[in-house]
């Protein structure tokens, strides 16, 4: 018994020893593998890994310059920067982003709006970019995230400069906005060979002043050599070249006047451009409705974007630059001047207006807006009462090509050269134009419509303002502009806006005087806008107009009461004041506002009163102002 037990124990011990030997050999082999691997890494490959480690350590990061500040002519801030914390993520570093965002939402407030906006950014961006999820974190949120940062690799909090537009919607179409750099912007930056300067910058001016003066506003990007950790966080700075902040801009806009003018529009859609007739400096640049440019800074979320884009009011359309409307009767002073200068009319020449006019040899009549006509009408009266019939004959005598060559120097049918992008040229028709455009010859009847600013003639509110300014200043071809001066961020030196060479148009003084007197008398009893000038205390020269929305057959009677609001005529008004020494010239258009005299002219009066006299509006009067159903033009 004992013998077998000992024997068994002996055998068992032998097995155990042999197994330990096998295990020892296996372990030695294992350590040999580890040892050779370490030798391979630390001796054979050492240099390669050393290089990699060095590259890991030092990184050159761009230092984004502060964007230039935009002021109005009186030094009011229109666009400025402020620093705030954003929560950003590099999507390529995160698995299952949606779930991580759910997690994150327990720490930092993430609204559905933020998510939508982030999704949109994600679709538009490259995967390795760092994208903001939440902007303007509160201190508490920053602290909460900092504590939990380890749970969210790929996420980081950055201090970023944000653009702020303190006036919101006011002047939004003039100032424009900045937004995230997209593929299109990137191509432009590449084409301009500015890639280096835009390293680290993720916003760019998109519209308005922000867009057109991007080169001034952006500044020069600096760089910093930093030691970074694997999360990309800078640990310490090794060397730095400071960025140069963008230059500040002072605009010609008077933001108070601007705000005032926008408010004067009330709920109406439309546009107003007011400028200094001597220089072309734009004092107010209204396109209603506007939009809040602050929405675009963070990257607009799709819901707001759709709202802006699909709204019937088209708030993103810059009506002042891009709205091309038939200028209607506002062209009559210009037409009158054209006829006088071309010797086709004298001041004394009169017609008897019975309410219609026939093109020789054509039986179908062209009708005046006033049934029964205006009686005996000379050139002065034709402007004051806005007699269509007078201009049918006048236009026919001039012919389209003479009209075209006279109107073009006023800026009609061509871009006026304003210093923001997106300007439309409108249309100043000619025989050649119609041949090119429609492969049709020009008919005499086409000229008749053009004579009263309808038909093929299209003008933007900006063009009407420029033309009115030229009329007011006696023929100096001003270039409308929004920039007054650039203020160098480093030296503080000021560089004024330099207009392109301005030609001087020459008119016979008595002709000019006659037309101007007509416009002055538009604002006197008997004129189409006389009510708007009551008690002004200074003289206004103006002209009303109506722009047809629905094409009407000649002879059909337009009845505002039967036309849906959206199909009502646009109300137009051009004016300058004071008439003897013009300080401000403007053109304005109220979409579907009916007639110029009743809707548009009162807005102009408010703007004049405020600009010339500093007078606040009579809000009661403004409230009562509504669409005027009476027949007048």
């Amino acid at each position: 018994m004992v013998g077998t037990a000992i024997k068994n124990r002996e055998a068992e011990l032998n097995i155990f020893r042999s197994r330990v030997i096998v295990a020892t050999i296996a372990i030695l082999i294992g350590f040999l593998i580890l040892g050779s691997r370490l030798f391979y890494l630390q001796v054979v490959k050492r240099d390669q890994y050393h290089t990699l480690a060095e590259a890991n350590r030092i990184s050159v990061v761009p230092v984004v310059p502060n964007r230039g500040v935009v002021y109005d002519r009186n030094g009011e801030v229109l666009a400025a920067n402020y620093s705030a914390f954003t929560l950003e993520v590099t999507p390529s570093k995160v698995k299952n982003l949606d779930r991580v965002l759910d997690d994150l939402a327990t720490i930092v407030d993430i609204q559905p709006k933020d998510r939508r906006r982030f999704k949109r950014l994600l679709e538009e961006s490259k995967n390795f970019e760092s994208l903001p999820i939440r902007n303007r974190l509160s201190e508490a949120e920053v602290a909460r995230f900092a504590v939990n940062r380890y749970r969210f690799p790929g996420f980081d909090i950055r201090a970023r400069l944000f653009r702020n537009y303190p006036y919101g919607e006011v002047a939004s179409h003039a100032i424009g906005y900045i937004g995230r750099i997209n593929d299109g912007d990137l191509k432009k930056i590449e084409a301009a060979n500015l890639m280096r300067n835009y390293k680290g910058t993720d916003h760019i001016g998109k519209l308005g002043i922000e867009g057109s003066y991007e080169a001034e506003l952006h500044g020069t990007t600096g760089s910093e050599q930093v030691e970074i950790d694997a999360g990309g966080r800078a640990i310490r700075s090794l060397a730095k070249s400071e960025p140069v902040a963008g230059n500040n801009l002072r605009l010609t806009l008077d933001i108070k006047l601007q705000k005032f003018a926008e408010e004067a529009f009330g709920d109406f859609r439309g546009a107003l451009v007011a400028m200094d007739p001597a220089t072309g400096e734009i004092l107010a640049f209204v396109s209603k409705p506007g939009f809040d440019p602050n929405l675009f800074v963070d990257g607009i979320d799709p819901v707001n974007w759709d709202l802006l884009n699909t709204s019937e009011d088209r708030p993103l359309t810059n009506r002042a630059l891009q709205g091309q409307y038939p200028p209607g009767s506002t062209v009559k002073p210009f037409m009158a001047l054209a006829a006088l200068e071309n010797g086709k009319r004298t001041p004394e020449f009169s017609i008897v207006d019975r309410g219609y006019w026939n093109l020789p040899g054509v039986s179908r009549p062209f009708r005046d807006w006033k049934k029964g006509g205006h009686g005996v009408v000379n050139l002065h009266k034709s402007i004051v009462v806005s007699c269509d019939t007078y201009y049918y004959g006048l236009g026919n005598d001039l012919g389209i090509d003479k009209i075209n060559s006279f109107m073009t120097p006023f800026g009609f049918g061509r871009k006026n050269g304003i210093d923001v992008d997106g300007e439309q040229a409108g249309n100043m028709p000619s025989q050649q134009w119609k041949q090119r455009r429609f492969k049709q010859k020009w008919y005499a009847g086409d000229t008749i419509s053009v004579s009263i600013g309808q038909g093929y003639w299209l003008a933007t509110p900006l063009q009407l303002a420029t033309a009115t300014a030229i009329l007011a200043n006696g023929g100096t071809q001003v270039t409308p502009h929004l920039l007054k001066e650039v203020i160098d961020s480093k030296t503080g030196a000021k560089r004024s806006y330099k207009p392109p060479p301005q030609a001087q148009l020459s008119f016979k003084p008595e002709n000019l005087q006659l037309v101007r007197q007509g416009m002055i008398d538009v604002m006197q009893p008997g004129g189409t806008a006389w009510r708007s000038a009551i008690g002004a205390g200074y003289q206004i020269a103006g002209k009303t107009g109506t722009s047809q929305v629905v094409g009407m057959k000649q002879g059909e009677i337009y009845d505002a009461r039967e036309v849906k609001e959206r199909f009502r005529d646009h109300a137009l008004f051009v004016a300058y004041a004071p008439a003897d020494n013009p300080k401000i010239a403007l053109a304005l258009l109220v979409e579907n506002g009916g007639h110029g005299g009743s809707i548009a002219a009162p807005i102009a009066r408010e703007v004049f009163d405020y600009f010339l006299l500093g007078k606040q509006p009579d809000l009661e009067k403004r409230k009562k102002r509504d669409y005027d159903l009476s027949d007048s033009d």
């Binding site: 155990f16 370490l38 630390q42 060095e54 950790d229």
Partner: protein
């Protein structure tokens, strides 16, 4: 009694159950660990270093207590430890707390424990006890039951999911069976069966586990994602060269490029700062521990002691091999700490309790043989 004799007595009481050679190496390793943890915390904060010092202190006390427990007592607690461990693992599966997508923890309100850690010791204890009892003539049924004892907890841990720990739990038990003399034929057959099972196992793995294995094949495929750990740790080790960049001078380590740098990836910090000289010294220290462990096993007087000592030693090797292999980029990334180096109370505690058992076996054998 003089003061001198009193001190002598006290010293004797403290040291008589400790194994000298093992103790020296462990203390050296602990010292290396403290310096590396300090470096891994940026050389600025002593928080982790003191934490690690506390971990070692607690673990050494536990080691001393276990070393003073006789192997017979260890044998007696084998079944309860295993059963409790198994029950806790089942509770984890049912009510466990989920952290980082894995159900590994049990929250008792005052303490949160990871029952799989208990199994790392419970498994070899029970199997060594089992083979001790079955001293005479082991049949296939005995091995089958041993297989069940082995696979039940392994499966539970794998399901949590915790691939690293399940490998350690499995290997601890497997080493006992191997040392007990399971025939080579069965071992080879099991090996082949295991190979055949691999494709099935692949489909059972979690996405992230598969990714880790794929990443090993080509870490550059996803340098900012799954491959990141491996790339950064190999860069750290490789850039250390022969002599290393010097303590607190490893740029990879100091600049936070190494993830988990004070825990699972501490070798990257150590390797970068102390170079090949340091890493080979570490391997030598580990070999000494293993050699001493095997000596204790060979000299043990009972089957239980032999098997337990042998299996614990081989487990120690497994820890070291898997961790170094993973950090140096030849094994997939699984959560296995570097023994006696990585920051972490639980791992050091269970490791030192294992050493306590080795010391108990080493210092109690005369008593048993008499």
């Amino acid at each position: 009694m003089t003061l001198a004799t009193a001190i002598n007595r006290a010293f004797d009481i403290v040291t008589r159950r400790l194994d000298g050679p093992l103790m020296v190496v462990i203390v050296v390793l602990a010292a290396i660990s403290l310096t590396s943890v300090y470096s891994a915390s940026g050389g600025e904060s002593f928080d982790r270093t003191f934490g690690q010092l506390r971990n070692f202190t607690v673990a050494f006390i536990a080691m001393w207590i276990v070393a003073n427990v006789s192997p017979q007592t260890l044998m007696r607690v084998a079944i309860p430890v295993y059963i409790v461990g198994l029950m806790l693992l089942v509770s984890v599966a049912l009510f466990g707390e989920i952290r980082n997508g894995a159900r590994r923890w049990l929250n008792f309100g005052f303490i949160t424990i990871q029952p799989s850690e208990i199994m790392k010791l419970g498994m070899p204890l029970l199997l060594a006890w089992y083979f001790h009892k079955k001293e005479e003539g082991l049949g296939w049924k005995d091995y089958a039951l041993a297989g069940l004892i082995l696979l039940l907890p392994t499966g539970l841990v794998m399901r949590q999911p915790d691939l690293g720990t399940s490998i350690l739990v499995f290997s601890a038990g497997f080493f006992v069976i191997f040392l007990a003399g399971l025939s080579w034929r069965i071992l080879i057959a099991a090996g082949i069966a295991g190979m055949a099972f691999l494709p099935v196992a692949w489909t059972l793995l979690h996405d992230y586990q598969r990714e880790r294995i794929l990443t090993l094949v080509d870490p550059m495929k996803d340098p900012l994602g799954a491959g990141y750990h491996i790339i950064q740790s190999t860069i750290a080790i490789g850039s250390g060269g022969i002599l290393g960049k010097g303590w607190l001078n490893g740029s990879q380590a100091q600049l936070d490029f190494i993830p988990e740098r004070s825990t699972d990836f501490i070798l990257a910090v150590f390797g970068e700062e102390f170079g090949l000289v340091g890493t080979l010294l570490l391997l030598v220290l580990y070999l000494i521990v293993i050699g001493r462990g095997f000596m204790i096993a060979m000299n043990a007087s009972t089957t239980f002691s032999r098997l337990l000592a042998g299996a614990l030693t081989m487990s120690f090797f497994t820890y070291a091999f898997v961790n170094i292999g993973m950090v140096s980029g030849i094994l997939p990334v699984v959560g296995v700490p570097l023994p006696l180096m990585s920051y972490g109370g639980t791992a050091i505690l269970s490791m030192c309790i294992g050493f306590g058992m080795l010391m108990s076996i080493s210092t109690h054998k005369q008593l048993v043989s008499s």
